[in-house]
Subunit: 456 residues, 2 copies
C-alpha cells in the first residue's frame, strides 16, 4: 500500500512541477501587464478629480455610476450592466462648525458630522463637555454626571498594533455605538476623536448607528489635533463647554442607485462565478481615492488583464462596483440576494477595500479544505512580496454572500498609511501610488487565475 502511494506521488510530481512552472510564468505575465499597461491609476484620477466624493444617494454617486459603466463598456467586457438597488439618503449640508468655550474664551475646533447622524438645528447645540476614555469611564459616570452633557470619547488608536485595522477595530466602537450609549445616560450629543493615528487637523467621518431605544442625539468627529486641544482645555477647566452646528439629516425617502457590474463569461462553467469588487460610493469629506476608488479600478483591471493576455476563464469572472458600502451596504445585500434568487453558483469572491497600498497578502473565509488548497499557492506569490495568506476576514460587500459563496477573501495591503486618509479630506489621488495600486490588481488577478484554473 505504502509502495503504491509513493508510486502515485512520483507519477504526479512532474505534472505538479510543470503546472507550478506554467502558473509561475502566467503570474509573471499578469504582473508585467499590470505594471506596464494598466489604466487603473488614470481611471482613479478621473473618478476622484472629475466626480470626487460620492456618497450613496448623491448626484455625485449617480455620476460615478455613469462614468464607471462607461469605463467598463470601453473595455468591451462580455457584458456590462447596472444592478438597481435602493440606498439611504443622508446629506451633510453646510460645512460644520464647532468651538469650545472656557472662561468666556472661544477656541475653534475642526469637526465633521458622523454619517447617519442627526443635525443640531441651525442654532447649533451647546452644553458642558465631559471627556471619557472608554465605556468603563462612561458607565461609572452614569446619568447623574452625564445628563444634559456632551460626551467626548477620546479613545486613541493603540499604536502597538502592527496592523492598523486592529487599532481601528477597537476604536471605531466609540464612533459607531457611542452616541446611543451616551444618550442612554441623558447626554445630548457626542464628539469622538478621529479614527487615525495621524496627528493632524483632518476630521474623519464614518458611519454611526442609532439604537432605537434611546434619543437620536447628534454626533461628530474632531481632528486628532483638536482632540488634544479639547482634552487640554477640559483638564484645565472642567466647566468647558462645547458648541457645534451641523445641518446633516437622513432624508425620509431612499434613492434608486446601482451596482456597476462587468463580466467575462466562463468558457466551461458560465454559471459558476468568481467576483472581484470594491465599493463605488465614498464619503464626501474626501475624494474616495483609497476608500474605495482603488478597489473599483483594481477590479476592472483584473478583467482588463485577462483580456489583454487572452486568458479565457473557465468560470465567469465579474468585476463589481458595489454601491452604499459606507452607510447602509444596500449594494452588497442586493448583489447577494440576486445571486441567490438566480441560483448562481458562487465559487469565490474577493474584495479590495483596505486601500491601494502595496499588497502584503490575502485574508480568507470559507471551508478549511479549500483554504488549505489556496495556502499551497503561497510560494507563487513570494517573488512579489505577497507573503501573508491567513484566515480572517473578507469584505463588507461580499460579506452578504457568507455561507453562499464557497470561499471569500480580502486583499490585505500594507496598513500603515490607510487611516491617515480614511474618510478624511486627505483621501485624494495624490496619496495613491500608481505602482502600489497596480500591484494590488495584479495580486488579485493572479489569485483568481489559480482559483479559476484549479477550483477547490
Amino acid at each position: 500500500m505504502r509502495y503504491i502511494k509513493w508510486l502515485i506521488c512520483f507519477l504526479f510530481i512532474p505534472v505538479v512541477v510543470h503546472a507550478q512552472q506554467s502558473d509561475s510564468i502566467m503570474i509573471r505575465k499578469i504582473f508585467d501587464q499590470a505594471l506596464t499597461s494598466s489604466q487603473c491609476y488614470q481611471t482613479l484620477t478621473e473618478l476622484t478629480t472629475k466626480v470626487g466624493g460620492r456618497l450613496a444617494g448623491s448626484p455625485q454617486a449617480a455620476q460615478a455610476v455613469d462614468m464607471m459603466k462607461k469605463v467598463m463598456d470601453e473595455n468591451s467586457f462580455d457584458s456590462v450592466w447596472l444592478q438597481p438597488c435602493y440606498v439611504p439618503h443622508w446629506v451633510r449640508g453646510e460645512k460644520e462648525t464647532a468651538y469650545a468655550t472656557s472662561d468666556g474664551k472661544k477656541t475653534e475646533l475642526t469637526i465633521c458630522a458622523l454619517g447617519n447622524s442627526t443635525g443640531t438645528g441651525k442654532k447649533g447645540l451647546e452644553a458642558p463637555v465631559i471627556e471619557v476614555k472608554n465605556y468603563k469611564e462612561l458607565d461609572s459616570l452614569g446619568e447623574k454626571n452625564l445628563k444634559g452633557k456632551i460626551v467626548f470619547y477620546n479613545y486613541a488608536f493603540d499604536e502597538r498594533y502592527i496592523n492598523q485595522f486592529t487599532a481601528y477595530g477597537e476604536a471605531v466602537e466609540y464612533r459607531w455605538a457611542g452616541p446611543s450609549r451616551a444618550a442612554r445616560y441623558g447626554a445630548v450629543a457626542t464628539v469622538v476623536r478621529s479614527m487615525t493615528s495621524a496627528y493632524d487637523d483632518y476630521p474623519h467621518t464614518g458611519s454611526m448607528g442609532y439604537n432605537d431605544s434611546f434619543p437620536k442625539i447628534p454626533c461628530c468627529a474632531v481632528s486628532t489635533m483638536d482632540a488634544a486641544v479639547l482634552s487640554s482645555m477640559i483638564k484645565f477647566n472642567p466647566e468647558t463647554k462645547f458648541y457645534f452646528r451641523q445641518l446633516c439629516e437622513m432624508k425620509p425617502d431612499s434613492v434608486l442607485s446601482y451596482n456597476v457590474i462587468g463580466e467575462l463569461r466562463g468558457s466551461e462553467n458560465p454559471n459558476r462565478f468568481i467576483t472581484v469588487g470594491g465599493h463605488l460610493d465614498s464619503w464626501e469629506t474626501g475624494k474616495g481615492a483609497h476608500d474605495d476608488g482603488a478597489g473599483c479600478v483594481q477590479s476592472i483591471e483584473v478583467l482588463r488583464i485577462y483580456k489583454a493576455l487572452g486568458i479565457k476563464p473557465k468560470n465567469t469572472i465579474r468585476a463589481v462596483m458595489f454601491m452604499n458600502e459606507e452607510n447602509g451596504s444596500k449594494g452588497g445585500a442586493k448583489y447577494a440576494d440576486e445571486a441567490k434568487r438566480k441560483k448562481e453558483d458562487h465559487l469565490f469572491a474577493i474584495e479590495s477595500d483596505a486601500g491601494g497600498f502595496s499588497p502584503l497578502g490575502f485574508s480568507f473565509t470559507g471551508d478549511s479544505v479549500s483554504i488549505n488548497r489556496i495556502m499551497q499557492w503561497k510560494p507563487l506569490f513570494e517573488p512579489y512580496h505577497i507573503h501573508e495568506f491567513f484566515r480572517g476576514w473578507d469584505g463588507a460587500d461580499i460579506g452578504h454572500m457568507k455561507g453562499y459563496c464557497k470561499v471569500m477573501s480580502g486583499l490585505s495591503p500594507d496598513s500603515q498609511r490607510y487611516f491617515n486618509y480614511h474618510h478624511a479630506a486627505s483621501d485624494v489621488i495624490e496619496n495613491v501610488n500608481k505602482r502600489e495600486l497596480e500591484l494590488g490588481a495584479a495580486a488579485m488577478a493572479s489569485l483568481i487565475y489559480l482559483i479559476d484554473q484549479y477550483g477547490f
Copy 2:
C-alpha cells in the same frame, strides 16, 4: 552514537524554546517602544525643515552635524563625538534653466545639474540634441553623428521589476557614466531622463563621475515629463536644439566635515562593535527626508530604544551618521580606516539608506555560516511583516568595511515610492510616514539585539 545525538537534541530543546520565547518578548518590547515613544519622526522633521538639503561641504551640512550631535548628546549615550573627514566641495550655484528650440519655437524644460558636473558658463550652452535609448544606440551613432551634439539619454525605468532598486541599478548607469561615454564621441553635453518611474515635473539629481581620458562635459537631468516633451520634439524635428545653463562647479579645495557618532559601551566586549548607520548629507534639490535623514534618525532610535528598555548590550553599539555618501563617500571611508587603524573588532554593521518606508526585510553580505545563523531568526520577524532575509547588498557607507566587518546588512523597505522622491524636491518630511519610519528603526534594533546576544 545516534542515540547520543538525539539525547543532546532533546536536552537543548527547552533551552532553545525558552530563548526563542524570551527573544520574541524582547522584540515585541522593542516594537512597542518604537511605535509609542520614538522621537525619530520629530527629529527628522527638525532636520529637514530647519536645515533642509545638506550637501557635504555646505554650510547646511555643518549645521546638520551640530544639530545631530546635539540630539545624540541629549540622549545621553555613553559617548558622542565627531569623526573628522575631508569632503569634496561641489556647489550647484544659481537655479538651472533649459529650453529646447524647434523651428524657432522655445519650450522651457525642467532640469537640474548632476552632482559633480561642470558648469556651462554664464551664457549657457546650446547645441543640436540627439536622443539615444541606450549605449548600443550611442555606439552605433559614433563620432560622425555625435560630435558637437548634446546627447539625451532617454532610458526609462523598467517597470516590470518588483523591486525599484533593480530598475534604478540599470538606469543609473546613464547618469553616472553617460557623460564621459558621450564625450568620447565628441558630444559637448548630456541630458539624462530622471531616475524615477513617477511621471512628473521634478528633475532628480545624483552623482556622476568623469573618466579622465575624455573632456569633462556638463551634464544635467530632465524631469520625466519633460523627457517625454523633449523626445516628442526631437521625433517631430530631428534638428531640435537644446539649451541649458548651469553654474555648478567643483571647488578646488576639500572641506573639513564630520561623521557624527554615538555609542553605547558593551558590557562584555567593549572593543567589539556593532554599527548602525545612515548618511547625514543629502542632495540640496530636496530636504533629504527619505535619503537619508530617515536612516540617521532610525540609527539614533536604535540606541534610544536600548536605553529606554534598559538593555545592556554585550558589545559596543554605535549609531553613525556618515558624511558625504552622495558625492564622494569620504565619511564611510574614514570610518573604516579608523576602525582598521585602531584594530577594532567589527562584528556587524547595518545601514538604512533605502528610505523610511515599511520594512520588508534585510539583505546580508558576509560568510555563509553567520548568514545561515541569522536566517534562523526570520520567524521572529514574521509577526511584523518582515519576511525577506536574503543575500545581496549592504550599504554604500559601511561598504568600506567589506572584508573587515564580519557580517553586514542593509535594511530593505518597500521600494515602490522611494524613487518618486529620491534626489528630488519632493524628498520632504510630508512624504515620510511616522509609523513606517519607526517600524524600520524597530526592525534594525531587533536584529541588532539578536546579534548582540548570540553573535555568530
